[in-house]
């Protein structure tokens, strides 16, 4: 087959200004400009969209699911969680 296997681009979709861009999938395209057009046709032909990002798939560096140590927490980090603190809402209830 002498045809063209285009590169892939990962697509990020923003539904309204101020929202985060959300990853929605990927498209084939011969260049970034056309990747945006493909992404619009594929991922924005119904749902509202104000902005699209595309990034070449091979430019994305990702963690490996097998490498669970990468996210391992060696010590108790519960103090980072707001739920870890039990102080009362109002001091007078505590005193009553």
């Amino acid at each position: 087959m002498t045809d063209t296997q285009w590169e892939t681009y990962e697509v990020f979709h923003q539904a309204k200004k101020g929202d985060a861009h959300v990853y929605v999938g990927s498209v084939h395209a011969p260049d970034p400009h056309l990747a945006l057009q493909m992404a619009r046709d594929q991922f924005a032909r119904r749902l509202k969209c104000v902005s699209l990002w595309v990034a070449r798939s091979r430019d994305i560096t990702a963690t490996d699911y097998q490498d669970e140590d990468f996210f391992a927490q060696t010590t108790d980090k519960s103090y980072r969680d707001p739920k870890a603190f039990g102080a009362p809402e109002k001091l007078d209830e505590h005193q009553a």
Partner: protein, 315 residues
């Protein structure tokens, strides 16, 4: 090969435990060869079905009665192309390439859904495809949205959302014809008669005891048997057909209080085998149309490739 891997049994056990816990499998994860092969086969066949599925209805775009119906049909056919692309991408995450899959389709090596090899001689066929065929497809795809393979499940969620529009527009079209004169109603009945058995065939033959199917169920590639998917379709569609005062073309199709389901006559499984293997009413024509479209678009792909090469050379 997996089996030469001395830790194969251990890895397989981890894999099956994960699936049993309801975890999704992602592209970089270890998986048995057979899991990968089965999924590439299923996803590429599914993608081909979407691509070929554009053709039976696409031919009606120039003849749609009215601008609204025409726009609706264009949107539906565009969705099918989009679904095909989503599914080719999902299959590529397992090592297939879109080029190779396309090539397999155009050269007649690939299989795709049986239904798209039947003719659409009347406008009622467009409604029946949306209502009957897409209802059957959505039941299957809702099941596949639970698949253990993450990219397939995610693609299915997006596709099911769009397919619900396909069903609605098909039903709306049929209802419009059903309210028409006796000749129009007869076109609907004629279409139901022709599409009933091919639609029942879509979910595949029984024979769930094959080890292949058992394995797909254990690995949650599918979560229901072909018979379960088909029964779900029959139970849902029969009351709808009768509510519009049309006939199900099967005298044995009655509600069975014992099982709580509708009984139905099995379709001709030899016919399915023939149609899937290339010998249906329109297989040759469908592929000829796809080949021509692919060739007609070649200059565009080549021009874009040349532009890309040149811009990379300049950069």
């Amino acid at each position: 090969m997996d089996h030469h891997d001395e830790k194969y049994d251990e890895k397989l056990k981890d894999f099956e435990d994960r699936i049993a816990r309801g975890e999704k499998v992602e592209p970089g994860d270890w998986m048995p060869d057979q899991y990968r092969k089965t999924l590439i086969r299923m996803m590429s066949q599914h993608a081909h079905s979407e691509i070929v599925g554009q053709l039976p209805e696409g031919k009606w775009i120039p003849f749609a009665p009215g601008f609204r119906r025409k726009l609706t049909l264009v949107a539906k056919v565009q969705d099918e192309a989009g679904h095909g692309q989503l599914l080719y991408r999902a299959a590529e995450t397992l090592g297939a390439t879109r080029e190779q899959m396309m090539d397999d389709l155009l050269n007649g090596r690939a299989k795709y859904a049986n239904v798209f090899n039947y003719p659409t001689p009347t406008w009622a066929d467009v409604g029946i495809i949306g209502w009957l065929v897409d209802t059957a497809a959505v039941i299957n795809q809702t099941m596949l949205a639970q698949s253990s393979y993450g990219p397939y499940a995610r693609a299915m969620k997006r596709i099911c959302y769009e397919e619900s529009f396909h069903i609605k527009q098909g039903y709306d079209l049929v209802v419009a014809l059903a309210q028409g004169n006796p000749e129009l109603r007869a076109t609907v009945q004629d279409a139901i008669d022709r599409w009933w058995y091919p639609t029942l065939m879509m979910s595949g033959p029984p024979g769930e005891l094959s080890t292949h199917t058992q394995q797909s169920l254990r690995w949650k590639i599918k979560t229901k048997t072909n018979e379960q998917v088909r029964q779900e379709f029959v139970d849902l569609i029969v009351p709808q057909i009768r509510a519009l005062r049309f006939q199900v073309p099967d005298e044995h199709c009655v509600h069975n209080p014992g099982t709580g389901h509708y009984d139905y006559t099995q379709p001709d499984w030899d016919e399915l085998k023939r149609v899937i293997n290339g010998d249906g009413p329109l297989n040759a024509e469908r592929l000829a149309v796809r080949r021509k479209a692919h060739e007609d678009g070649r200059w565009v792909r080549e021009a874009l490739a040349a532009k890309q090469e040149r811009s990379e050379a300049v950069a």
